[in-house]
């Protein structure tokens, strides 16, 4: 990468800079003409001196001549403006392209960093460098050559103009420029140093903020917020000091410039005035010179600003780029080459060492043979096991020694071989913030395989593609189908889904994905097959519950004509699932439409009374408890903080009746009945008569619902799939009954049986694959993340699978299950497994035992497990 910004600019945009310069130069004659014209208008057309006989062969009188000149002036104004517009657009585009190229190149470098580099460099430093720090460079690159040429040219034109008018005045006008040209860079130098300091300080702040975010748990665990605040405050103080000094110096430079610039007019008025009085200079000329000088100040100021900006950007560029100049950057070839080579034979480590520069060696003089058609266990005491695995996966490169695959140098193989034919899974794998499916097929997305469908018009696509090329960016299409089905041993998407489900079963993640699927919603328009299968299941469930009263007791199905005792009053009224915030249970009491419905069926007063009773009961039950008692959270309709208000309210209604309530208090009381679940709360407040009225309200609610609110609720309809409810709720189409022993597990079993009987499980699991895993997989448990990473690796069917304590987060039962499933699946294929328990090595063909980064012993398990070996010792210690 170019080490200075001008090298970068010239290397990638010389042609554009030349075009810019030509355009700029082409605009000069018009600029000059627009300067000259006013003088002619004043001297010739207005003053009437030296009126030409003919103009372009036409005879003109004074007034017509004025019109013509003014017309010309107007044309020039338009032309100059147009030039400016064209040049600015061109500059802007050039700057953006170069910025895009720069960012892209920096990102490429990040991908090429050797892994140990990331121990020294945090995302907090890298991200602002690529995003914010280089941002101003874009604006500058367009100006880098054009501004000095344009403003310098303009300046020269003006100066030449003044010189032509009068050499002495010209000399006077520029007399102080050499002095300024000498002084300013000297003053600027200190500002530059400060600028560098500022960038460094800001980077450290970014780094600290990143650390705080990552370690937020520790901050709260150890009560260190104050320490972090102090640290940040101190650093912000440093930045403040630096910036303040920069301002002082910058503005001093500005002040000096302004002062020097104001000195020049002094010479004009003095010398020019003297010359005019003595008749050695025309009055018109002095006016024009003064006008020109006024314009002279502008480009000169621009030039000085450009200089300051150039320095600023030069430093920014250098400071960013130097961070990306890493000596042992991975060769570009390793990432981009497209080769294929089956990993067969034996992986031979010869005297391999690994360690950080200057640090101690984690692995030292490791020599071993790893056959790639068998199973090798790596166990050990002390460091180096995981590093050995990563070296075998070519994720790390050895610091010394050689790794060979037969005759080939393993470390020089491109990632198109090692990244597809070998796979490493560590103890804390990373999942990307996408759906589980996307994470599972992540390992199959190496290059675009088939053109994808585009909504964009082809015109726009072509333009975007050529734009990518002009910025030196990758031209791969993100919308293409990148999945390498063949690598997974599949012939298409449907086959792949089936294989994914198999792999999920293999890593014991199938039940989790099934559960995720049950709790997801599906858009029936996009996936009609899922919706119809679910409707079939609903029907089967209905039949089953009706036939078997023992099961029927567990679920209360939704019936449009019946009140659901196990649903809240709110749900009974809506008889549907709220979509969006409008009909959320808490918002109902203040929703005008709901109030209108209650009014219409004459339930408003009854609601107030029930609300009043609920409030009374809550106050009676919970008033004696201390603040913050968990019962408030779990059982009370009223929070502890609200208790006094309710007590006051109740005291007043006891005296004046419910009629005396203020509107806010009415809403407050009205909101309570909505939360009642008759079967759970057993307060006896919803009478059969009340149920009937609520059913009436339910009917009115649906009937009168205005069109604009129609989208805010998805009604329960026995024969229609409810898009707002989960698959499980759609199948049950009812509520679990309160007070039935083990109702959850019983219904879960019934549901699972039903799903299996109808062959729905695969469909539910496929829906479960859409589950978003969250940032870094945070919506999955640690065990689920490990299983997902295992599945991702197995799906690729690598020649050699390298696992490094990849099942450490699983409980013992599933660990055993997954271990034997993987061993079975990898029969006859390469498997290198770093084990956390030595006894597990029994099932492997070969065992490598590490002790403090050196190989202590290697060979067959039977040969090594004799008294006196490290392996024996380790097993004894377990």
């Amino acid at each position: 990468m170019e080490s200075s910004i001008f090298q970068f600019i010239l290397r990638h945009s010389t042609r554009h800079q030349v075009v810019l310069t030509i355009m700029t130069l082409a605009s000069f004659p018009f600029l000059y003409a627009s300067l000259d014209l006013p003088k002619r208008i004043v001297n010739e057309a207005i003053a009437g001196k030296k009126l030409p006989e003919t103009f372009l062969g036409f005879h003109l009188d004074q007034v017509s001549y004025l019109w013509v000149l003014c017309g010309l002036f107007l044309i020039l104004v338009v032309l100059n403006g147009w030039f400016k517009y064209i040049i600015n657009t061109y500059k802007g585009r050039l700057g953006e392209r170069m910025l895009r190229r720069l960012r892209y190149e920096l990102y490429v470098r990040v991908l090429r960093f050797p892994l140990p580099r990331f121990r020294k460099m945090s995302p907090g430093e890298i991200i602002p460098m690529i995003t914010a720090e280089v941002e101003p460079l874009g604006g500058f690159i367009g100006d880098a050559i054009a501004i000095p040429v344009f403003q310098g040219g303009t300046l020269l034109v003006y100066i030449a103009f003044i010189f032509i008018q009068d050499p002495v005045l010209g000399a006077a006008a520029v007399s102080l420029y050499p002095f300024q040209g000498w002084l300013i860079p000297r003053l600027q130098r200190k500002v530059n140093q400060l600028g560098k300091q500022r960038v460094r300080a800001m980077r450290q702040i970014a780094d600290r903020i990143g650390e705080t975010v990552s370690g937020i748990q520790e901050v709260h665990t150890h009560d260190t917020a104050a320490w972090h605040l102090a640290d940040l405050s101190h650093r912000l103080g440093d930045v403040y000091d630096i910036r303040f000094e920069i301002y002082q110096r910058k503005f001093f430079v500005k002040f000096l410039n302004n002062f020097i610039n104001q000195l020049t007019p002094f010479f004009f008025y003095a010398i020019g005035g003297y010359l005019v009085i003595h008749g050695r200079l025309s009055f018109g000329a002095l006016v024009a010179v003064l006008a020109a000088y006024k314009d002279l100040a502008a480009p000169w100021k621009e030039l000085l600003d450009w200089y300051q900006q150039k320095e600023d950007n030069r430093i920014k560029y250098e400071q960013v780029v130097e961070q990306f100049h890493v000596p042992d950057l991975l060769e570009d070839r390793l990432l981009s080459a497209e080769e294929d080579l089956p990993l067969r034979g034996t992986l031979t480590f010869q005297n391999v060492g690994f360690g950080e520069d200057g640090g101690s060696r984690v692995l030292e003089a490791v020599s071993c043979d790893i056959p790639l058609d068998g199973h090798t266990a790596v166990i050990g005491i002390g460091s180096g096991r995981d590093e050995l695995a990563q070296l075998a996966a070519r994720v790390l490169l050895p610091s010394s020694g050689q790794i060979r695959l037969g005759e080939t140098d393993y470390t020089s193989l491109p990632e198109s071989v090692t990244g597809r034919r070998a796979t490493y899974v560590g103890a804390t794998p990373y999942l990307f913030s996408a759906s589980l499916y996307d994470n599972l097929v992540y390992g199959l997305r190496h290059r675009p395989m088939r053109a994808g469908e585009h909504e964009e018009p082809p015109e726009r696509r072509r333009r975007r593609l050529s734009e990518s090329m002009l910025s030196g960016n990758a031209t791969y299409d993100t919308r293409a189908d990148w999945i390498d089905y063949a690598a997974a041993g599949c012939d298409g998407p449907a086959d792949l889904k089936a294989r994914i489900l198999k792999v999920l079963t293999l890593v014991n993640l199938d039940d989790d994905v099934y559960a995720m699927g049950l709790s997801r919603t599906v858009d029936p328009e996009q996936r009609p097959e899922v919706a119809s299968a679910v409707m079939e299941a609903r029907e089967a469930m209905r039949a089953m519950l009706e036939e078997n009263p023992d099961l029927g007791r567990l679920v209360e199905r939704f019936d449009p004509a019946r009140f659901t005792m196990n649903s809240s009053v709110a749900e009974n009224l809506l008889f549907g699932t709220p979509v969006g915030p409008i009909f959320q249970p808490d918002a109902l009491a203040s929703n005008p439409y709901v109030l209108h419905v209650l009014d219409k069926v004459g339930l408003t007063d009854r609601f107030l009374e029930i609300g009043h009773k609920v409030a009374e009961t809550m106050v009676e039950l919970f008033a004696g408890l201390p603040p913050g008692h968990e019962f408030f959270e779990r059982f009370s309709f009223i929070g502890f903080a609200e208790l006094p208000e309710y007590q006051a309210l109740l005291a007043r209604t006891a005296k004046d009746g419910l009629g005396a309530l203020r509107p806010a208090e009415r809403t407050r009381l009205m909101s309570l009945p909505f939360r009642l679940i008759p079967a759970r709360h057993r307060l006896g407040l919803i009478t059969p008569e009340g149920e009937k009225r609520l059913l009436e309200a339910r009917r009115v609610f649906a009937e009168d619902l205005p069109a604009d609110l129609r989208g805010a609720v998805a009604f329960f309809e026995p024969d229609t799939y409810n898009a707002a409810a989960s698959i499980q709720d759609n199948i049950l189409f009812g509520k679990l009954v309160y007070g039935q022993a083990q109702v959850h597990s019983k219904v879960g079993r019934i549901l699972a049986d039903l799903v299996n009987r109808l062959h729905l499980r695969d469909i539910v699991m496929e829906v479960g694959l859409d589950h978003p895993v969250g940032v870094a997989g945070s919506r999955l448990s640690a065990a689920q993340r490990q299983k997902a990473a295992l599945a991702r690796a197995m799906l690729k069917r690598p020649d050699v699978l390298i696992l490094s304590e990849a099942t450490s987060g699983l409980d013992t039962a599933s660990q055993n299950k997954v271990h034997s499933a993987i061993m079975e699946d990898r029969k006859g294929c390469g498997l290198i497994w770093v084990l956390h328990r030595a006894a597990l090595a029994r099932a492997f063909d070969r065992v490598i035992v590490l002790k403090d980064g050196r190989i202590a012993e290697q060979g067959r398990f039977e040969d090594l497990s004799k008294p006196g070996t490290v392996l024996h010792e380790m097993m004894a210690a377990e």
Binding site: L621, H629, F631, Q740, A741
Partner: protein
């Protein structure tokens, strides 16, 4: 059955007989109603106990594992409490309890029970009294048994 009836039922249990209505109401409100079909098992012997059951209606059988399978040792009827030993002191269930008929119970979770005792010491005193009473009864019986042996 509503809270009011549950409170009435609780009041008939000696353990709760002298406790304020409002506290009983709170206990009822925070406890879950649990129905069992005849033959359903409330809990098995040697399980860890998480709640006590107050029988509201129906009957339950208490069985202890013998060499030849479970042996019925007692029958419980409404207004009786079962499973309170396991939640008072952390011991596994000492017997299996099965619903003999359809059974309505109030299930008092262990932590609620303790929280109520901590909040309302008067309840603790009451329980202490009942337990002491039971101990005295047991001692009495033990003495009888011992004197009978002699």
């Amino acid at each position: 059955m509503s809270i009011a009836e549950e409170v009435e039922c609780l009041r008939r249990i000696p353990l709760f007989a002298n406790i304020d209505t409002s506290k009983l109401k709170l206990l009822a409100f925070t406890s879950e109603r649990m129905s069992f079909r005849a033959g359903d098992v409330l809990f098995h012997q040697d399980d860890t106990g998480t709640c006590a059951y107050i029988l509201m209606s129906g009957e339950a059988e208490v069985m202890v594992n013998g060499p030849g399978g479970p042996v019925p040792v007692a029958t419980l009827a409404s207004n009786e409490i079962v499973g309170e030993i396991a939640i008072l002191c952390d011991v596994p269930r000492t017997a299996t309890v099965r619903a003999a008929t359809d059974l309505e119970t109030l299930c008092v979770p262990k932590d609620h029970f303790f929280q109520l005792i901590t909040e309302f010491p008067q309840m603790g005193l009451e329980i202490m009294r009942v337990l002491a009473h039971r101990l005295e009864q047991t001692t009495l019986r033990l003495r009888e048994v011992l004197s009978g042996q002699r």
